[in-house]
Amino acid sequence: MNWIVSAENIKKADRSRVGGKGYALALLAKGGFAVSKTLCVTSETYQEYISRTGLRERIMLELNRKAFKDMRWEEIWDCATRIRNMFLRKSIPQEISAELKEAIRTAFKDKAVVVRSSSPEEDDAASSFAGLHESYVNIRGTDAILEHISKVWASLWSDAALLYRQEIGLDVKKSAMAVVIQEIVVGDKSGVAFSKNPNDASQGVIESVYGLNQGLVDGAVEPDRWILDRREKTILSHTPAERKYWIIAGESGVRLDALPDKLTNRPPLDAVEARHVFELALAAENYFKSPQDVEWTFRKSDLVVLQSRPITTLPNQKNGDNRSWYLSLHRSFENLKLLRQKIENELIPAMISAADQLARQEVTQLSDRDLATEINRRWEINQKWTNIYWEEFIPYAHGVRLFGQIYNDAIHPEDPYEFVDLLTRSEMASLERNQMLGDLANRVRNNPSLAKALSAGQTENLDPQFLEAVDRFVEKFGDLTCAVTGGTQCQQESDSLYKILLEMAAHPPPDIDRKPSKDKDALQEKFLSSFEGEQKKKAVELLDLARSSYRLRDDDNIYLGRIEAQLLAAVREARRRIDTNHHRRSGKKNAAQLIQVVESLDHRPPFQPPYEQKPDDGFVIQARQLIGQPAGPGLAKGPARVIQQTTDLAEFKHGEILICDAVDPNMTFVVPLAAGVVERRGGMLIHGAIIAREYGLPCVTGIPDVTTLIQNGDEVTVDGYLGIVTIGSSDL
């Protein structure tokens, strides 16, 4: 079997084996275009690799844990992460790798190459995978090249590629990947050329940057742009870029650098060169008999073709092509660094001060009319911060994911979420809150008369020191049942807080999962030692960014919860007045205003009744074993506590399994009491999973309908290794 072919030996019949890119390069070389030396690893090699290693079925098992349409983007990202790690850890069978190595060594000696995806599906005129699969520039040495072939294969299963193939209706089972390996051309200036402008058939377009064109392709470097007349081949317009950066080849890989001063004022192409590039694009169009999108580079005065493909219609939101959106899910390191500054220096302090300001205003003093106005004002403030949460904080969470990918690429760990261990033990606000709660519980534990008074509901003459500590806690974190996103069911008194404290005090304090710090230090050392020089500096920065991103993922909700609690406090006051005025004729008019405001805010999600075991035609169904994601390792058994509404949290008992729709950080105060955590919302990096990991509890996430399929008191077993939850005892 020929696992790898040289461009000059590629025939028409090989088209589907070598993919769109590989085939176009072979044709260009045959047509006399200047193309650098090219080898192509066929799609059969990929097929053989996934069959022999068992990856074919492992991937399908991974993707079929639940219906694809039911997966949130985070869950798809998790699938993609696990699949990528499978490719990194499963080496290519020796018989195949020997042939690949031999061909690569012979063709390139020790020269650096570019390893590119060449998808057989890309031929399909309806689909354009541009940018969805990965390419790697400046890779040297057969082992490194082989590793990057695996990475290109894995990119067939990236979150963006999975979403896109699903959208355009391609069968994932049939997907395969060919890989193009090309000697690198380290050009002085590079770009793309469209032989025909998609927006005006009489024109062509050239875009160009200094250095390599990776910067242009992924949007990091702004290009100069020329519009040309197709017939006269003259320049109609030139739009210069703000030339600041270029992408250059490092020792291995590429890096973004500041453009030398002497180049910032000069366009990368002069008129003669631009015309030269355009003629190349026209020649490619003439050769392929269709308008072409050509990637090119100038090495000194030699113009070299990197690739050529037919111009596909531009991505169109109206046609439901969301490829650009899928690609935007991933943020670059540079982008995240800027976002971090904004969040840490501006947004978080502003958010805290907004909450403090609201807290200082006493709503009980306001007239009914002013209270109605105040509720609307608070609603708007809450809305503003909720929008910022979605637009700025949620994308920042990608810092954790970016780190995860870099970590896995460097380490190839057995557990693709090992990297999370380097991020935990951060000073998360919810852990600080749980710590304060633990201290309060300690006071109750060590003071039997206090415990007795609390159990009996005699809260009039409590120890002032204890009450002071409770006040400090409530001031900082709310009274637990109140500060829950989406909940408008606050309780007036601290009853729920006391209930939780009594329950905590009745049992020994939980062991927070403190892995010996030397393990974490060793892990950190293992990660950082796989980089050198500049790369190492970047790795240190990335780890720091990931820690901040991880911490914020939790803190932002706590801060947002504080703002929401202030809105709810105003609503609570309004409710109190409505109830009182109900019996008094005089206040009716103003009460109507309040009722209107309160009703317009009441957006509680409908209560989901548990599944009722009613015989249907003599049959009763019962869930026995449910499958989700293994989000926190461990095995635990206990009675289920199903959280349908936030008030249920106060009933939580030590040793129960927390079953809920979605754990938000404001709810995680019960986690120290829990034996395990199960969540409907899916993901490995969601709050429930994060907090469970911090306490070393088994956790399973992403089980559809879990809160209706499991009922309070059911005996459940959480298998956090496999991601399964078993209901009922093992007896028949």
Binding site: R52, T53, G54, L55, R56, E57, R58, L61, Q625, P633, L635, T717, D719, Y721, L722, I724, T726, S730, D731, L732
Partner: protein, 150 residues
């Protein structure tokens, strides 16, 4: 009478060609059948499978280790009635650990490489069924027994 070597070869062939087997356990006199991915030892003295510890079959065989294992070549076609071969093995199940477990898993994963994540989960147990007898059914109703001398 077929020589035992021939029957043994047929058994081996079937065990190698089939990926799945049905394992029967029981609790309180109530039989319970489960589908498992299995591998057999070359000498046919052991059949191995892997199960999560939270399953009924695992709870059952902890209480009563006697099991029956059905392996067959049917393809859900009419021709199965004359063509398919089916064997039932009876024996005793026991969880294996440590070095022996690693050896078995290497063999197991060579046959079922896609189950790698599953078998290495700490919540899974590797089970060895030490076989006592095989009952081979062919040609619809012909039954031959093979008893292991232990």
């Amino acid at each position: 009478m077929e020589p035992t070597r021939e029957i043994r070869n047929r058994l081996k062939e079937l065990c190698n060609s089939q990926k799945l087997a049905v394992v029967s356990t029981q609790a309180g006199g109530q039989p319970y059948a489960s589908l498992v991915a299995f591998v057999a030892s070359d000498d046919l003295r052991s059949i191995f499978f892997v199960t999560a510890r939270t399953t009924r079959k695992f709870a059952n065989l902890k209480k009563d280790p006697r099991v029956a294992v059905l392996i067959n070549s049917s393809t859900n076609e009419e021709a199965d009635f004359h063509d398919a071969v089916s064997i039932t093995a009876t024996g005793t199940a026991e969880e294996i650990k440590d070095l022996e477990k690693d050896k078995v898993l290497t063999r197991y994963l060579a046959k079922h490489p896609y189950l790698e994540d599953f078998v290495y989960s700490p919540s899974c147990a590797v089970i060895e069924v030490t076989t006592q007898s095989y009952y081979m059914v062919q040609n619809f109703q012909k039954v031959m027994e093979l008893h292991l001398d232990r």
